[in-house]
């Protein structure tokens, strides 16, 4: 048995067939959600081009309360009908997508940014900072979100950016809680301890070790709360403190159409309502898929 100690060989790591794995993952992606979200994003970006009419002006050649084209009295010039001012519903829906998406995404980013930052500080620095941040979070959570948002909107006045900031300020708490929990676990992981032992400054550890590893959780949380923010914006618009008219927003359309529900002009409420439903459903499905995809344990089944 001529076996001697040799120097271990120079090794290359195994090369996984990443291309094939990615193709397989793509096949199971939530096609419907991606199509809806992608479509709405395109619609929002190209709203000016896609919308047949100016959403704030009545349509020439159409009356008020025209029904959708497939119903009696409907016209092709306003395929989804017109509202109480004679404005084209389709154009208003298209422009409304812009508001929903911008507020939804930006609001989530603001909330996520604030919440993640505070969560990391609370979790990693600990001590009194943790206590302070957590008590603030608790207090904030005790306030009912929507009421608080309305209050703030009434205080600082409605405009698109104000609404974004308000929603961000209302919804950061869930990020803070979740991220803090994640950071508490991460802090005990060996690679973080190794960095500390090597003499890394706190800031360095946060930037290079903690933050990248909470991004997964934060991203999934974000994709799931976009829906919540969109509904919140719609609620604010519905209550009249959202993005101010004449800029169309789906919630505002619902609000304006409230009197017509009983009168039978269903298209004024059903279409905007369906849009809200669709976008929230799409973001939830997407967020769910993302969660499974980013969780290594669930990924392979």
């Amino acid at each position: 048995m001529a076996i001697l100690a040799g120097d271990p060989p120079i090794v290359r790591p195994r090369t996984a067939s990443r291309g094939r794995a990615m193709a397989r993952a793509a096949r199971r992606a939530p096609l419907a959600a991606i199509v809806i979200l992608g479509g709405l994003t395109l619609v929002a970006i190209f709203a000016d081009v896609l919308a047949p009419y100016d959403p704030t002006m009545p349509v020439q050649g159409a009356d008020m309360f025209d029904p959708p084209v497939w119903m009696e009295g409907g016209k092709w010039s306003a395929p989804l009908g017109t509202d109480f001012q004679g404005r084209d519903i389709l154009s208003r829906l298209i422009h409304g997508a812009r508001v929903s998406l911008i507020v939804g995404i930006m609001g989530t980013l603001v909330a996520g940014g604030i919440g993640t930052a505070l969560g990391i500080l609370a979790g990693y620095v600990g001590g009194w900072m943790d206590q302070v941040i957590m008590r603030v979070t608790d207090a904030w959570l005790a306030l009912p979100a929507l009421v608080f948002a309305i209050f703030l909107a009434a205080m600082i006045g409605p405009s698109m950016w104000n609404i974004i900031i308000i929603l961000g300020a209302v919804y950061w708490t869930r990020y803070a809680r979740v991220v803090r929990g994640e950071v508490l676990t991460l802090r005990e992981r060996e690679f973080v301890k190794l960095a500390e032992i090597a003499g890394a400054s706190r800031w360095r550890v946060i930037k290079r070790h903690i933050l990248p590893n909470v991004m997964n959780t934060a991203t999934v949380l974000a994709s799931l709360t976009v829906g919540v923010v969109i509904i919140a914006e719609a609620s604010l618009s519905f209550l009249g403190v959202g993005v101010p008219p004449p800029q169309p927003a789906w919630g505002l359309m619902l609000s304006e159409a409230r009197p017509t529900l009983m009168a039978g002009q269903w298209w004024l409420t059903v279409f905007p309502g369906s849009c809200i439903l669709l976008i929230v459903l799409a973001t939830q499905l997407f967020g769910d898929w993302l969660r499974v995809k980013l969780d290594p344990q669930l990924r392979n089944l």
């Binding site: 076996i3 100690a5 040799g6 060989p9 195994r14 067939s17 094939r20 199971r28 392979n300």
Partner: protein, 327 residues
Amino acid sequence: MAPVLDVVDLQTHFHTFGGARVVKAVERVSFTLHEGETLGLVGESGSGKTTTCLSIVGLLPRGARIVGGRVLFDGDDLTRRSQRELRRIRGRQIAVILQDPMASLNPLFTIFRQVAEPAFFHQQMRGKTLKARVQHLLKAVRIPSPEWRMREYPHQMSGGMRQRIVGAIALAGGPRLVIADEPTTNLDVTIQAQYLDMLKDIQRDTGVALIFVTHNLGIVAKMCDRVAVMYAGRIVEQAPVRELFDAPKHPYTRALLGSVPKLGSKEPLYSIAGQPPNLASLPPGCAFHPRCPEALPRCASDEPGDFPQGDGSVARCWLVDHAAARA
């Protein structure tokens, strides 16, 4: 005497990524086990030893299936049994001891309740008989003062004691076969020694057949009568324990034996080149050939069969076939 367990050409495959990837975790594994005998199932991670055991008791995870072969327990083919029937056999005839005692014990129930459970369900013991049985079992696994210990909870005991309680639960149903999957990995060295001695004594007293799954050749040397060395889902060598240590036939066995440090010797360790195999993409021919220092040209294309040797060992290697042919 008929064997307690006879595994014939067992094949278990994992289907992942929605069936797109098949991992052949266990590939034509065969061995027999008689009463009072201890078989060591030796291998590293990915060798298939744990999957083999799970296949025997029907506890395979999602995505895994037995696709071939038979598992004859006292002549009865377990692969043909439903989960319901297997549930009656598990715990009563076949018991399993796992690596992490905390995972095997329910933190909410007393020791008494957990040790009594198999006897309660499988043998319908009640009352005083049941209590006596539990005390007897706890004494057998050398738990001191069992009368009041059995009213305690798992978290009140040390790791070594918990592992012994898991052993008591395993024995409670009066099994014919116990499968122990690396039960001492998390135990301190001296506790491990006590535990292994205890297992040996119990086996001597009850005649239970034992499959000991481990990657530690020292445990094999201490506990086992026969050894099956697994690599990439196959048994590459099977032999009585002395023959395995004195005259290993397969290059992997030789390499393993050479790579373990021996107490008191500073001889350089043999290190096996390369990495453990990726079961999803095995090389053609013999699964070990890329790392084998004695590989023949044939090894890269043909997978070897089982070649029995004169001393009771069987090796799946072309080298020993050549030796036989030359002789």
